[in-house]
Symmetry: C2
Subunit: 210 residues, 2 copies
């Protein structure tokens, strides 16, 4: 790719990346026209080809960019160091929402790229896929103190429930487009405090309930 891309004003860089995320997330690799990406970004096709020499290069750039910024943001959020499960979920979710605010279609793009089967790109995608596998909380779960939670609860199922509901919420909003991040933040906190109230042993629940 052309290094000059980086000297573009940030908002223009973002416009181009987002245009790519958008079109590639809506269509197969092969059926995603460069013209459409350029139009969405508000630049001419020629200029797009000036920064990214061909379609494949743009696609793969988007893929690695997406992997890197996601990992970076997740680390920065500190959700991996957190010991409290709910705190960790909260910071993880905050990171996701922050990413979503900057690059609304990046998540969908990642999922789609993950499943892309076009021989022109799928080898490269699968090759660097390990950079994107989620470090799930399975390890974290073993560090939980069962005494903090209501007696007899299946902690693995509890986490599964919370994880799936979070994903379900994200998906539910995403699929209808036009996402309002602030609203999502509120809804998420509401869910979290609901779970705390349900799952935590009495007396522990109020602990974090600002």
């Amino acid at each position: 790719m052309n290094q000059k891309f980086y000297s573009l004003p940030e908002e223009k860089q973002r416009a181009i990346l987002n245009a790519g995320f958008h079109v590639f997330s809506q269509n197969t690799y092969k059926n995603s026209p460069m013209r459409e990406i350029a139009e969405t970004a508000g630049i001419s096709k020629s200029l797009l080809f000036h920064y990214f020499h061909n379609k494949k290069e743009l696609y793969l750039y988007l893929w690695t960019f997406c992997a890197e910024i996601t990992i970076e943001e997740m680390k920065k959020s500190g959700c991996y160091q957190q010991t409290d499960l709910f705190e960790s979920m909260e910071s993880g979710k905050n990171a996701k929402l922050r990413l979503m605010r900057m690059y609304p279609d990046m998540g969908t793009f990642a999922v789609k790229a993950f499943c892309e089967e076009d021989p022109e790109v799928c080898r490269e995608i699968r090759g660097s896929m390990d950079r994107y596998i989620q470090i799930h909380a399975s390890a974290k779960l073993e560090n939980l103190n069962p005494d903090d939670f209501i007696p007899g609860i299946d902690l693995k199922m509890m986490y599964k429930d919370m994880y799936l509901a979070s994903e379900g919420y994200l998906w539910e909003k995403m699929k209808l487009g036009n996402l309002n991040i602030d609203e999502m933040e509120r809804d998420f906190s509401e869910l979290l405090s609901f779970w705390k109230k349900i799952y935590l042993k009495k007396g522990k629940a109020e602990y974090h309930d600002d």
Copy 2:
């Protein structure tokens, strides 16, 4: 559309519909080539055009087919008459899984069609959209007897949690493709019985636990 389509052997009909669902769910309306649909269905492009006179007709047929069969299957499952919330969720989920087994890409297609903005079809889609709005359980919730559940629980939040987790699960599986319906059935029952154990008042929980 050509009525002869209906006299095709059922499995061939399904192959064609599924091919349509697949391609249209992966691409925008405009970027979905008829050739690709025909290829996926294992027939020639000419034959596809023999049954559906043009692209728009096929697309809109898929849309109404999807709405009708979904409503039919949901009604048939009896999930709307059920008085027990968990029973109702179970039969609703069974209906969804049955549909998913027959038409794996129909759900994704519906979501995408729902958001389609191409002027060639979006008017018609939005016009008949009311056929597809979910009759949510909000009304049902008011009939619940709070005494059946653990004291002090927010029933609306409880339902939201369960609904979102179900959607999240479906989405989680769908996005990675290659869905194993039997496994999904098992996972779902597991989730349901977990919720029963958590949310139902002690003594009520074992009631339905075959």
